[in-house]
């Protein structure tokens, strides 16, 4: 069992951090529930591996505390925490057989004889490694090696959380799906907290119940995949998740309408109290911006290009010279490059300095 509390946690790799820029991880307080499947999503250098290494104890944070089930483990070394970690490149002890690899963490903790054997075989069966138990680690494929790395974490009965640091990077694409499904099944079967670091949104969205999006050392949004998609809390989330990402346009917002380059865009919510000094933008995903023939209402746009993505078509359009992406309905045929764009008012969000502004409900 492990509920993980991060209390005012921050980390800097420089000894005397001055400003925000010196922090690889800016102060954060979060709770990770027992049994959850979390994905830490963000671009390289956003601090996700730093956060992971702090939780696993490979790194001691410069500020704040880490609690496991209320117990302060901030100063505890990795081996004293009930946690396991799987790395980007599979770690397999070359000279040992698969069996010995799986038995290694248990032997190091003093387990011997029949209980050890039973546990190793149980985990091997769970990971479909039974047939390979007597093979040497060095001759296995990358995905089998990564399964062994995972197995060395699962085999310990004390482990309550498993951390994954981009574990599928070196796996062949067609095996990625298989391994990810395996992880998902294991998560359901074993009641473990799993934290999965990745920069691949597909991996994050398919693996996790809760996706934690990080940007520049901060957690910018923590939520279910659907929330991240429908209500990005930050323009970064809008850009990073979704393909193509959210359209973000500079706008003037007053009441229930936004003005973009002379065109009015209706909004579902009201925004009476926007900060005058902030940079105001509106964001709408291409999925909620539909192209229609010119004169069909909405705002007039100029079509630059149509991209056929197979299942759908995406139009690259310009609204008063501002580039946007929009969905093209299947039956639409366009004459010339004039068209109009229909925006779903409920899905048009307002951002002040990049952060979502909660409007007043209708």
């Amino acid at each position: 069992m492990a509920r993980i509390d991060l209390q005012s946690l921050a980390h800097s790799y420089t000894p005397n951090p001055k400003g925000d820029d010196d922090y690889a991880l800016k102060p954060m307080t979060h709770v990770w529930e027992q049994g959850g499947a979390y994905a830490l999503l963000g671009p390289s250098g956003c601090g996700k591996t730093t956060l992971l290494n702090i939780i696993s104890g490979l790194l001691t944070p410069s500020e704040g505390r880490v609690l496991f089930d209320g117990r302060d483990v901030t100063a505890l070394p990795t081996e004293a925490r009930n946690i396991a970690q799987v790395f980007q490149f599979p770690v397999v002890y070359d000279t040992m057989t698969v069996y010995e690899n799986l038995a290694f963490p248990l032997r190091n903790r003093g387990l011997r004889g029949a209980p050890l054997d039973a546990r190793v075989r149980e985990i091997a069966a769970l990971l479909d490694l039974t047939a390979d138990l007597n093979r040497r680690g060095r001759n296995l494929t990358a995905d089998a090696k990564q399964k062994i790395s995972l197995g060395r974490g699962l085999v310990r009965p004390d482990v309550a959380a498993i951390l994954f640091d981009e574990p599928l990077t070196v796996i062949d694409p067609h095996l990625k799906w298989e391994l990810r499904s395996k992880l998902k099944a294991l998560h359901r079967a074993l009641d473990l907290t799993m934290i999965y670091v990745t920069h691949d949104q597909t991996e994050a969205l398919t693996f996790a119940d809760t996706v934690v999006v990080m940007h520049d050392g901060r957690v910018v949004q923590m939520g279910r995949p659907q929330e991240l998609f429908e209500r990005p809390a930050h323009v970064f989330v809008g850009h990073f998740i979704g393909s193509p990402g959210m359209n973000v346009l500079p706008a003037e917002v007053s009441g229930r309408a936004a003005r973009v380059g002379g065109h009015l865009i209706p909004l579902r919510r009201g925004y009476p109290a926007l900060d005058g000094g902030a940079k105001i933008e509106i964001g709408v995903r291409p999925e909620f911006a539909t192209l229609a023939p010119a004169g069909a209402g909405g705002v007039p746009v100029r079509v630059r290009r149509l991209d056929d993505l197979g299942r759908t078509r995406i139009a690259r359009v310009e609204l008063s010279g501002l580039p946007m992406a929009a969905t093209v309905p299947e039956d639409l045929t366009l004459a010339g490059d004039e068209a109009s764009l229909l925006l779903d008012p409920a899905m048009v969000h307002v951002y002040a300095d990049g952060t979502l502004v909660e409007g007043e409900a209708a």
Binding site: L58, T78, P105
Partner: protein, 294 residues
Amino acid sequence: MDKPVNQGAWLLVLPVLLIVAFSAILPLMTVVNYSVQDTFGNNQFFWNGIGWYQELLDPSTDLGGRFFDALWRNLLFSLLILLIEVPLGIAVALSMPRHGWRVAATLVVLALPLLIPWNVVGTIWQIFAREDIGLLGWAVNRLGIPYNYTADPLSAWVTIVAMDVWHWTSLVALLCYAGLRSIPDAFYQAARIDGASRWAIFRNIQLPKMHRVLLIAVLLRFMDSFMIYTEPFVVTGGGPGNSTTFVSIDLVKLALGQFDLGKAAALSIVYNLIILAVCWVFYTVMTRMDAQRN
């Protein structure tokens, strides 16, 4: 599938063949020529067949006795060198820093002894270990331990072994360090998570990665110590008595001191064959082990 045959390729090999022929094979043939004849100067040669070889390989003769004594000394010396330098080199490599400016500093310090010419190393130790004016020799005697490498065989052995360790442990350490550097950090992190002890990390991660470079280090150190000449020649000249006379030193005495060219030539050939044989055994063992591991 038939590969196209291009006889022109011989032209590329020819220069090498010629150079090797003139620089190695022809001189070696001269030595072979000397080893089956006897000469008293004036370019007069007398056929002796395998006589010198028979004498050399028979320990009861004067020549054979000398040869085997020197050979056992050589083997003992190589054994001592390997027993000391390999574990010491591993220990040094393990305690070397992995990151930061200290890496460069340590590498430079370790490389220094390797850059000193061999006869200079001999001269340094010859003076350093003298019991009258050498810092080491004087200090050891002052501590109450009798130590004089010009009179006492044990002192002489301690001196040349210490000198070789000082000179060559760096090589073993640098080779091992190269092996250690090829281990990604994730292995150490995973081992910590697995709760591995320091010994388990050494046994299961570090030693397997050093395995290949260690074989090379052992081979290099064996061959080098087996052929050692310069340093003991400068320090002890093979003495006191014959106690540090190795095969190479004896060979020079025989050829250039006594001008027994026939005996010296036979000794050269046998010495050469021993080294080739050891190299071949090593090479076979290494390739076998590699094949087994894969």
